[in-house]
């Protein structure tokens, strides 16, 4: 299966995402430069990776959300393309309006890098169906702006629709409802602050992220 990773000038988890994708698909992903205007038609899954996109001196992901490639990504996602935004990628997707809400500065004001235990809030999505909803998983977080915020109406809608996918067991950043990851209403776009691509290797970060990649591939 052909996959792709978007590369902004200061993406820094693009290689990690590519390594994880290649390990699972057996095929190197396309690395798509932010100035490119289109995503090849053979691509079935796009990762918007972690990092600092354009330095994030403004709001995290704000400038990246306006880049040429995101315009095309938005159109293709509306047509059903599977998209996974991780960390900065999640911030980009909210800034681009592809997911509701916003990621604000962590409640503790500090960058936080630690292993976070996550509860499966929805193990029925195309991203999570191989997880057992009963089992918590350990996935690392590393961010300064991971404090998920949405207004009450939006939160109610997210919760009611089962769009909340992951919740922190021990909330590291002040996110409302302990939200660590959400999908869009159609279920094809997932944004999450924890880094599943850093949890696909027993020698580095554990293997609890593997089922996320396997779930996606299994649903194609």
């Amino acid at each position: 299966m052909q996959t792709a990773v978007i590369v902004f000038p200061a993406s820094n988890c693009d290689r990690d995402a590519a390594v994880a994708l290649e390990a699972h698909t057996g095929k190197a992903p396309h690395m798509i430069w932010h100035k490119d205007t289109s995503i090849p038609d053979d691509v079935r899954l796009v990762i918007v990776p972690g990092g600092f996109s354009y330095g994030d001196y403004l709001r995290s992901g704000a400038i990246a959300s306006q880049s040429p490639v995101i315009k095309d990504l938005k159109q293709k996602a509306e047509a059903g393309l599977t998209v996974l935004g991780i960390c900065n990628g999640f911030q980009v997707l909210t800034e681009a309006g592809m997911l509701p809400g916003a990621l604000m500065r962590n409640a503790g004001q500090k960058f936080v890098c630690k292993v976070s235990r996550l509860r499966l809030a929805n193990a029925q999505t195309r991203f999570t169906k191989l997880y057992d909803a009963k089992d918590d998983i350990d996935i690392p977080v590393a961010h300064h702006d991971g404090n998920y915020f949405a207004d009450d109406d939006t939160l109610r809608r997210l919760e009611g629709n089962g769009q909340v996918v992951f919740r922190y067991v021990d909330n590291p950043n002040g996110s409302r409802n302990d939200i660590a990851g959400i999908v869009n209403q159609a279920g094809n776009v997932l944004g999450m602050m924890p880094h599943p691509e850093r949890a696909v290797d027993a020698l580095h970060g554990g293997t609890d992220g593997n089922n996320l990649f396997k779930s996606i591939l299994g649903s194609m």
Partner: protein
């Protein structure tokens, strides 16, 4: 300011303001055959500053062991280069950013990280790990908390954004750093051994390219600031601190590495201390050429900058390179792709002179050789530190409450968990971090991407030992580095050093410097563990009070097989604990004395280098023969601390025994060197003890693993979780403002 070749009005005051002594000024007059103008004086001033010229330290640095069969490039380039087999090379260096970090902690620390990364990728390496060595003043000193807060945020803010994991380091708190904190940053990069880049600008008539951020007025005379003491008005120096832009650094890394994959670059040098001056002069000097620059072409952030300002600016994230003629379009294409400012600002010449043109006139025309090679090289007088009395265990009255003793030792500021710090660093980006600060282990372990090998990296120094006895302290810093790498199963390969001292013009400070270097060098030679790069930071003094001598050592080791790694994690229930190495119960200059009795006296533990090597080689062999389940080196706090740290990370208690005649305080808390604590299953006990005996290595059974308490038959008995809670909470409590006393 008139920038012309006519002499400006260079008065003795102007000379003194530039940190140039009257004798040094005479040399300048002699070499030029005339008086310099202000721009030229500024150039001499930064090139001959302590920071750039090493004028007090050079003759002593020359003593170091700097070669081995794995050394590709020793000191003298931007960073050291070692061979790690299969055509792979590791490029690494540690550098200080002490003065700026005290004045402006966030930007000072951030730009320290940025600067050391540039030293590494300048040579063709992708940075793969960052470490640091930090020393702050007393925890309750009024400035300490804000300095800690700013420095940690600055280090994290820069490394996290660029996307290089910050994997390890060490942090001390001591009154000796109240007026001068130390921020030493280390970067480790990976390159191909046949594609290392150097700074020698060989060849005449080649284009010189400037790339990166625009030049502004920030950091002018930073190198000179770093070459003088502080006084009460030091905060007025804030304008000399540079401002970091990690986004541009990230672009520079990617762009430089992309261009380095072609044959376009002849020579490359980052603009660090003394900016455009130092980079152009070093490249020219090493290449044996002259340089002519057109300053009007330098990308500038502000209008109306003078030649003086441009040459002395320390704006960050800038590189200078000599490009292969004909490859200019390729260079422009790559840098423009990454959105970087790039300009062709000059050419190499055959004159051997630095010629600067600005606004249609020549504003500087001076020979390069005196700037680089005729820099002062002082043999400063040095007085050895008076030896201290050795403290015997019987000199120290035993505590009546060993539970309290253990608690005090483990909550000593230097001993406590530094989670508050390292959770602010992205330790996992690049997905090759196999072990980092989070396990509290001896060394961080970074896999070489896509291979079955790894490097181990660590930073080490015990300043209180160096203060007590510079020579033994210098030996110990290198020995502990070597031991920490050994304790994870690595072959120690080489070190970088960052030598932080007070004012070298004082003989007792110079004595500390010389003592530490001689001790370090002896250890380097004993272990075949050479120095391949480094940095000297002097004048770490405020109002005449110097820091404790702090020669920080950054070590790199090679792990040839990922399956042969052991760390302090992994002790199993029922494992036997074996202590490798001799114990005499050395309490002089120990954490125990300081934490319980507020005493910092006594000679520090001597390092028997032959025993250190014998013991370490044996432990590495046990790891490679899969004889052990966990290993931890013994250092601060002795056996008790090592056992606690092993227990904290394996979440399993331990019961310790004392098979000697030593009193409990000396046995459990003595800081004798060259020791390791290993955990092993019962089948391996006898082979380990027997083989050790044959090798002349002392090995004793000292306890068992299991339970939920840390206990000793003749000492403490405390709950593991309770102790851990106190150990973990010290730093968050400090930083939240509420100071808890033990």
């Amino acid at each position: 300011m008139a920038d012309t070749l006519k002499s400006d009005d260079i008065t003795p005051d102007v000379v003194a303001e530039h940190g140039i002594s009257p004798d040094e000024y005479k040399i300048i007059l002699d070499r030029l055959g005339r008086a310099p103008n202000l721009t030229e004086l500024g150039i001499f001033s930064v090139m001959w500053s302590e920071h750039c010229s090493y004028k007090s330290s050079r003759r002593h640095l020359g003593k170091f062991l700097t070669s081995s069969k794995r050394v590709i490039q020793g000191p003298g380039e931007n960073a050291g280069v070692i061979d790690i087999d299969d055509g792979d090379a590791i490029i690494f260096k540690m550098e200080s950013h002490n003065h700026p970090s005290y004045i402006e902690p966030y930007q000072g620390a951030a730009t320290g990280v940025g600067g050391i990364m540039r030293d590494v990728f300048t040579m063709g390496a992708r940075p793969i790990a960052l470490l640091n060595a930090l020393r702050f003043g007393e925890p309750d000193h009024p400035k300490t908390k804000s300095l800690v807060d700013g420095v940690i945020a600055g280090i994290g803010g820069y490394g996290n954004c660029v996307g290089v994991p910050t994997v390890g380091g060490e942090t001390n708190f001591h009154a000796g750093y109240n007026g001068n904190i130390l921020v030493n940053a280390m970067c480790v990069g990976l390159a191909r051994a046949d594609n290392v880049f150097y700074s020698a600008a060989k060849g005449v008539g080649n284009p010189i390219f400037y790339v990166g951020s625009k030049t502004g007025r920030d950091g002018i005379h930073g190198a000179t600031m770093a070459s003088a003491e502080f006084d009460d008005d030091s905060e007025e120096k804030r304008p000399t601190v540079q401002v970091g832009d990690p986004f541009t650094e990230k672009l520079l890394i990617e762009a430089c590495l992309e261009l380095m994959a072609t044959d376009a670059i002849i020579a490359i040098q980052d603009m660090g201390a003394a900016g455009l001056t130092s980079s152009s002069i070093e490249m020219a000097d090493k290449g044996g050429v002259g340089v002519e620059l057109d300053l009007d072409k330098v990308p500038q952030r502000e209008v109306g900058m003078t030649a003086y300002e441009m040459m002395l600016s320390e704006s960050q994230e800038r590189m200078l390179m000599v490009i292969q003629p004909g490859k200019e379009p390729l260079a422009f294409k790559v840098f423009e792709k990454w959105g970087l400012d790039v300009a062709e600002i000059g050419t190499t010449t055959e004159t051997g002179r630095l010629v600067l043109n600005h606004g249609g006139t020549t504003v500087c025309d001076i020979p390069i050789a005196p700037l680089a090679d005729d820099a002062p090289n002082y043999d400063r007088p040095h007085t050895p530190t008076e030896p201290r009395a050795v403290i015997q265990p019987s000199d120290i009255v035993e505590t009546e409450d060993y539970n309290d003793a253990l608690l005090r030792v483990m909550t000593d500021p230097d001993m406590t968990s530094k989670r508050w710090i390292w959770e602010q660093y992205d330790r996992h980006v690049m997905a090759d971090t196999m072990d980092s600060s989070q396990s509290g282990g001896d060394a961080a372990i970074i896999r070489i991407h896509g291979t079955n090998k790894a490097i181990a990296v660590t930073t080490d120094c015990t300043p209180r030992y160096c203060y007590a006895d510079p020579y033994e302290g210098g030996k110990q810093a290198v020995a502990e580095s070597w031991r920490n790498l050994t304790a994870v199963g690595a072959d120690p390969v080489a070190i970088t050093d960052c030598l932080n001292f007070g004012n070298p013009e004082r003989p007792e400070i110079m004595g500390q410097f010389v003592g530490c270097i001689d001790g370090m060098n002896e250890a380097c030679r004993a272990f075949d563990y050479p120095v391949v790069s480094g940095n000297v930071s002097l004048y770490n003094e405020t109002n005449g009070v110097a820091i404790p001598p702090t020669p920080a050592v950054g070590g790199v080791g090679l792990i040839p097989d990922l399956s042969l790694i052991k760390t302090l994690k992994g002790a199993k229930d029922g494992d036997t604990l074996i202590l490798i190495g001799d114990t005499e119960g050395w309490l002089g200059s120990s954490i125990y004395l300081r934490a319980l009795m507020q005493r910092e006296d006594g000679a520090p533990p001597p390092v028997d280098l032959a025993a250190e090597k014998r013991n370490g080689d044996y432990v590495r062999k046990l790891i490679r023969n899969r004889r052990v389940s966990a290993v931890h080196d013994l250092s601060d706090g002795g056996l008790a601390a090592a056992a606690c740290e092993m227990a904290f990370t394996s979440v399993m208690g331990a019961t310790l025994t004392n098979p000697t005649d030593l009193p409990a305080h000396a046995w459990y808390f003595g800081e004798d060197q060259g020791r390791y604590l290993i955990a092993t299953d019962k089948n391996s006990i006898n082979p380990i003890l027997t083989t050790a005996d044959g090798l002349g290595v002392k090995a004793q059974i000292v306890g068992t693993v299991g339970g939920d308490r840390i206990a000793a038959q003749d000492g403490f008995d405390v709950s593991l979780n309770g102790l851990r809670e106190r150990w973990e909470s010290w730093m968050p409590t400090l930083m939240s403002g509420a100071t808890e006393t033990v």
